[in-house]
Every structure is written in structure tokens, then in C-alpha cells.
Amino acid sequence: MKRRGFLKLGIVGGALLAVAGTTLAVLPGDRSVRPRVPLASLSEAQFAVLVALAARVVARTTADPLSVAHAVDTALRFAPPEVQKDLGLALGLLDNALVSLLTGGRPTPFTMLKEQQQDEALRRWGDSRLALLRSAYQGLRKLCLAAHYATPPAAAALGYTPSIAKPEPPAITARGPLVVDLAALRARDAVEMPPGSPAPVDGGTP
């Protein structure tokens, strides 16, 4: 199988992907979770697996797995298409019963496992002899954690709040100027300095 993907595949990794490609349809996992809004990067099937995975990664936080999964899908827009594709494939692998069996787990798709079994499956990937699976585990784990802890309420719950009040910036739209000129921008900058701090000096704006 010839594949010019992103993750470095060993021979076994390549075989796993071949398996994933041919058996996904045979043992379908739970696809009942639907996205709330159209997806930016993942397929609906991949998204359903991601929601199940997110539920385990951010378990014991206030996070809503569906929101986390949407945030991950949005974040993936910024990654190279090759990375998006590989993470999507990894989600397919995770929900593949045969792959699960071949890597020492039960012959059941991830989305159909009980929570404790899902945790075991994730730990198996994290501890796998295959660098490919460890790498996929890290990638997906980090994306879910980032999606949750980057939100202001989650950050605030840990004690982090911005130290300076700032007004809402203009919305980022597909077109239209974000910043017209730095001088005007700096003049408009309504920043509340903490008491006692020296005034910022102009660094030579035109």
C-alpha cells in the first residue's frame, strides 16, 4: 500500500491502516452523536469517535465532550491537510474492532466500549510498541485538552484570569481589514495599566 501521509508508518502501521480501510464498514461503531454545526475538518463518522474519545480525555472536568470535539475540529483547520487526514484516519483505527483485537484489545469498536474499557484502550495506544499509535494518542489527547483548557471559563476555574481588561476587538471576517494602521490602533488602545506601572513608551510608530 502506497501512502504519502504524515505520520511515519512502520510496516505494521501500514498493515493496520490497510485493515482499517477495508473493515470499517463491516463492524460499524456507534454513530448516533451528530455534529451541532457543519464540520470543518473531520467526517461525521470520525467526529462521532472524537466525541467518545473527548469524553474520556476531559472526564472529571466541566467540559462538554461535544463542544470539545467541535473545538478540535475547528482547530484542525489550521493544521496541514496531511495532519488532518492522518488524525481522521487514527480516529477510524481507534473505532475499528479488528485493529483493536490486533493491538491486544477487545474486538469491539471504541464507541461501543464501556467507559473503563475505553480508558484501557487509550492507555494501550499510549503505551503501544508502535510509535504510530503512541503518536496518534498524544495528538488526539493534546487536542482535546487544549480545546477545553483554552476556554476562558476552564482557565478561570484554575485561577487564571487576564490581568488587564481589554475591549472586544473587531470580529475576524473572511474579508475586510483587521488593522488599518498601527498608529491609529495604538491611539485607540484602551488599556488599563495596573497601578504603579510605568507608562508604555512609544516604540517609534509611524
Binding site: 504519502r4 504524515f6 505520520l7 511515519k8 474520556r56 476531559v58 472526564a59 472529571r60 484542525l76 483547520r77 489550521f78 496541514p80 491537510p81 496531511e82 480508558d119 499510549g126 503505551d127 510509535a131 503512541r134 503518536s135 496518534a136 498524544q138 495528538g139 493534546k142 482535546c144 485538552l145 487544549a146 483548557y149 483554552a150 476552564a154 482557565a155 484554575l158 485561577g159 487564571y160 487576564p162 490581568s163 488587564i164 481589554k166 475591549p167 476587538p169 475576524i172 471576517t173 473572511a174 474579508r175 475586510g176 481589514p177 483587521l178 488593522v179 498601527l182 490602533l185 495604538r186 488602545d189 488599556v191 495599566m193 510605568p198 507608562a199 508604555p200 516604540g203 517609534g204 509611524p206
Partner: protein
């Protein structure tokens, strides 16, 4: 042919294709590009400065990680080595990495410049020649030692621990004016105190007449009979993700590539630039980082205050073994959450106490040993850059050693528990536990590693068989009117945080480039 007006034109707002001429096209607005653009514009050249990132100003910097990483970092903050082993933090915005960096400033150490001269035939730049240019940067960017009251609890832990172990430590110099210690250097300075390119050399360049075009990604440089004749750009939407469908073509007399490590070699590879050395994209170095979270009884709040104000270079000279130096990292919720390992309950149980955590880091100096050849850049089928960076045995040994030192420093500073960034059992609470460090899973994907310093890939050398550009003015060995001016020209890691090394070298090279171009 048209010209662009002085000032910032945002690529996403253009209504049609653009074709402009100029003396000098500079690709990338970071440390190397901004210095070059300002120097050239001030010498009277017409300059177009191209940047694929967005023109975000102080107003937009709201101390939020969910806004900063997608818009100010390469790949929305998700860049990593090809095997995912090393997370790569690298800027992508007007001002490049200097818009999000942590403001630590060091001149290039003598032993590094000397190593380049001896080992890599770098004869055109010496410490004596660089010194006035470092000094220029120090003055222009207000680089000065951090005042003691601004040293935050996180850095105080490093200072205390390192001192107790008898390590030499130093307060850092930073490029700020009126820093209020918001702690948000990595998210774009919310009060404009940081003297990055956005607030200094880019305005200087504009004042001298330079045109800046943002959301313009240079896809390739076109060559005709061994000369660079055009730069072809895709204009990107306001998100910086998709193309608007419009293109910009710049037809300059000379081209300066300043996209930074990884990106500059990727651009030249996409352009099929000649490469007699075979080194294009090779020898890419990362200062790979191992880290720990030290948990203290008192509050650290590692997100407040300047992220870095203390360093120790005590372990930098280790002969045959890998040298490294000690600094800190800011402990913001998202950055820290993705650093600590595990998931679910195991992650949350540790992370809920993150306010008590200090983050200490060890940066490994890669590229000084013969078998540590760094990474290789390639271009994916989508045109995006990828970096293959195999970690060799000597480096793993170095990580283990550095990890032990970090744990010792944290314990000496009074940490109750220290967590390494490995999957599985990774807690240490006394020196007696240190031998267990050897048994941690030291393999890719089982330990979280980072890089915030990318260097090399278009290395300088006066020998065309060894380097992509010559050292005296960073001119490409095969193309007379093509220059590379950024961190990608370093033949090895710099052994210190690289920005001041880049400012100084860029200013020296730009002065010589401008001289050469004015003489015709």
C-alpha cells in the same frame, strides 16, 4: 508596473490580482525580515515586505490562549516534528516569532561563533564584527536586565534551586519598555510593552517608505538564468487558512528570504532553488526541551509576570555529552494542560493544582556533535512544510541527564512533588528517587518534548559544498540576487535564546546587502 503604497496592505482585502515591482522583496516579517526591510528602506531602497501571518496589533492581544495560538503561531500552534515527538512553537504573524516570544535576549556566545568558524567555514562574521550590530539592536529594542521586582515566583524557584545546587545563575535581559508583568508575552503583548518587530523595526521600515503585504504566502521564487526574478504569492483569507483565489506577484531586483527555519528552506525547496551543497533543509536544529512541573505548597501562578527572567548556563559545556541550559516556561492553562501527560482523572487530579506548579525547562544545545545532525525539512504534497527530526542516542542520554538536574533544582527549591512529562508513573519527591529517571519511557510519543527555537536549514558557510549561503552577506551561493536572512542560516543551535543573534547578524548582513545593491 505598479507599486504598493507605504504602510500595511492586508492581503485578504485586495479585490484583484496584484503585480508590483520594487528593489527588494523580503519574505517574512520576523526577526531577520523586519531588520532587513527597515535597513534597506532607510538606505533608500523600495521594499516590499511579505508576511503570510495577519497584521494583528496590540488591540487584538487579549491574553487568551484560544485566540493567540490559532492566529499567531505556525499551523495554529499545532506544528510538530513529523513523528509528533517534539511540539514546535513558532510564530506566524506580522512580526513573526518576535510577536509571541518570551523576550529573553542573549548575544551569541563566543564559543559558538568560534565553532562555526572552525567547523563550518564561517569566515565572514566574527564576534568583533557582530558586536556593534548587537549593540545597535540592544539600543533600538531597549534590551535591559529585568528589574528584580519583576522576577515572578516561577523564576524565583529556578533561582533558589539552582543557587542551592551551586549553579551559576543570571538575571535575563529583555526587549521591553514599561513591562507590567502581565505574563502574556506568548499571546502578543497586551500593552505594547514588548519591543518586538511589530512595535519597532516594522514601523521604522514603513516610516522609511516600505510596503508591507500581510496574508500573502510566498509560494515560490522564480529563477531565470541564475537570478531571482519574481516572488509568487497566494493571498490568504482573514483566518490565514484558505486562499482568497487572488495572487500577488512581486518583481524585485533582489530577494531576501526571511521565513525563519523550516519555512525558509521549504520555500526554497518548493522553488527548486539550486542546492550545490545538498544541505538545503538539512541541519535544522531545535534546542529540544525537556521540562518538569514542580508542585509547591505555596502559590506560584506561573502565568503572571515575565515568563523568563532567570537562566543558568552551568551545564552547557559537557564535552562529549550534550550540553543544556536551564530556564522557565510560563504556566498558562492550555500550554500546561497539553504538557502534563495522561488523561481523564489522572490528568485532572494533578492539573487542578496547576496554580502551585513551577515549570522548569532544559534546552539542549543541538548541532555541536558530529552525530547530532538535526532535522530535515521536506515539502508535503499540500505544499506545507514538514520536519523529520530523528533523536539520536546521545540526545536521549542528554535528556535523561537534564531531567535529573531539573528534578534536583525543583526539589532544592522546595517542591513537594515533581512531575515529569512522561506517560505512566512520573512523580518524584526526593533525590533518592533519581535513579528511576533512567527507567522512564524515553521514546517518542511517551514523553512530551518541545521547541521554541528553530534554527538552521539554510546554513551559512563560505564553502559552497557545505553551505547554502555564504557568511559575509548571507548571499545564496548559486543565485547572485538571493539572500537568506533569518535563524535558518545558523550552522548549529546558538546555545542561547536566538533572537538577538538573529537581529545582530541580520543588521550586519543587511548593511552589506544594501551596500552591494547600491553599488549595482
Amino acid at each position: 508596473m505598479k507599486t504598493l503604497p507605504a504602510g500595511i496592505t492586508e492581503g485578504q482585502t485586495l479585490e484583484g490580482d496584484l503585480e508590483v515591482g520594487c528593489d527588494l522583496a523580503v519574505i517574512g516579517s520576523g526577526a531577520g525580515g523586519a531588520v532587513t526591510a527597515a535597513t534597506a528602506a532607510q538606505a533608500g531602497l523600495s521594499v516590499v515586505l511579505l508576511e503570510e501571518g495577519g497584521a494583528f496589533g496590540t488591540e487584538r492581544f487579549r491574553q487568551r490562549e484560544d485566540e493567540a495560538y490559532p492566529f499567531l503561531y505556525q499551523d495554529g500552534g499545532q506544528r510538530a516534528t513529523k513523528d509528533g515527538a517534539i511540539a514546535i512553537l513558532q510564530g506566524r504573524a506580522l512580526g513573526g516569532g518576535t510577536t509571541v516570544n518570551w523576550t529573553t535576549c542573549f548575544r551569541t556566545p563566543d564559543y559558538i561563533v568560534e565553532h562555526w568558524r572552525k567547523k563550518h567555514a564561517v569566515g565572514g562574521v566574527s564576534v568583533a564584527e557582530l558586536a556593534p550590530h548587537w549593540q545597535w539592536a540592544e539600543e533600538r529594542l531597549a534590551i535591559a536586565e529585568v528589574p528584580l521586582p519583576l522576577v515572578n515566583a516561577n523564576n524565583q524557584k529556578l533561582l533558589d534551586g539552582a543557587k542551592k545546587l551551586g549553579f551559576e545563575t543570571a538575571l535575563l535581559r529583555r526587549n521591553v519598555i514599561g513591562c507590567a508583568g502581565t505574563g502574556n508575552c506568548g499571546h502578543g503583548c497586551p500593552i505594547g510593552a514588548k519591543q518586538g518587530m511589530l512595535n519597532t523595526l516594522i514601523p521604522d521600515a514603513i516610516k522609511a517608505g516600505a510596503a508591507v503585504l500581510t496574508r500573502a504566502r510566498a509560494d515560490r521564487v522564480l529563477f531565470e538564468s541564475a537570478r531571482a526574478v519574481a516572488v509568487e504569492c497566494t493571498l490568504l483569507d482573514a483566518w490565514g487558512v484558505g486562499p482568497t483565489g487572488l495572487r500577488a506577484t512581486i518583481k524585485p531586483k533582489a530577494v531576501v528570504v526571511s521565513g525563519g527555519a523550516i519555512n525558509s528552506p521549504a520555500l526554497l525547496l518548493r522553488s527548486n532553488a539550486p542546492d550545490a551543497s545538498g544541505r538545503l533543509g538539512r541541519r535544522t536544529f531545535l534546542h529540544p526541551v525537556v521540562a518538569i512541573g514542580g508542585f509547591f505548597d505555596d502559590e506560584v501562578a506561573g502565568w503572571r509576570g515575565p515568563p523568563q527572567s532567570v537562566a543558568s548556563h552551568a551545564p552547557v559545556h559537557r564535552g562529549e555529552e550534550m550540553g543544556y541550559f536551564l530556564e522557565t516556561a510560563p504556566v498558562h492553562p492550555m500550554l500546561a494542560a497539553t504538557s502534563f501527560t495522561g488523561f481523564g482523572g489522572a490528568h485532572a487530579e494533578l492539573f487542578v493544582n496547576v496554580k502551585q506548579a513551577a515549570a522548569l525547562i532544559a534546552l539542549q544545545v543541538d548541532g555541536l556533535h558530529d552525530d547530532v545532525v538535526g532535522g530535515t525539512v521536506s515539502v508535503l504534497s499540500s505544499g506545507r512544510a514538514a520536519l523529520d527530526y530523528p533523536i539520536v542516542a546521545r540526545q536521549w542520554r542528554g535528556f535523561i541527564e537534564a531531567q535529573k538536574t531539573l528534578i534536583r533544582v525543583a526539589l532544592a527549591a522546595g517542591a513537594r512533588t515533581v512531575a515529569t512529562l512522561h506517560e505512566g508513573p512520573n512523580r518524584f519527591s526526593s533525590e533518592a528517587d533519581l535513579p528511576r529517571v533512567d527507567a522512564l519511557p524515553w521514546r517518542t510519543g511517551s514523553v512530551v518534548l518541545f521547541s521554541a527555537h528553530q534554527m538552521g536549514g539554510c546554513m551559512m558557510s563560505d564553502d559552497p559544498k557545505q553551505g547554502v549561503v555564504r557568511s559575509s552577506d548571507l548571499r545564496h551561493h548559486q543565485i547572485d540576487n538571493l539572500f537568506v536572512v533569518d535563524g535558518s542560516v545558523f550552522p548549529t543551535a546558538t546555545g542561547v535564546n536566538p533572537q538577538l543573534s538573529i537581529y545582530g547578524l541580520a543588521h550586519l548582513a543587511a548593511t552589506r546587502i544594501v551596500d552591494g545593491l547600491s553599488k549595482g
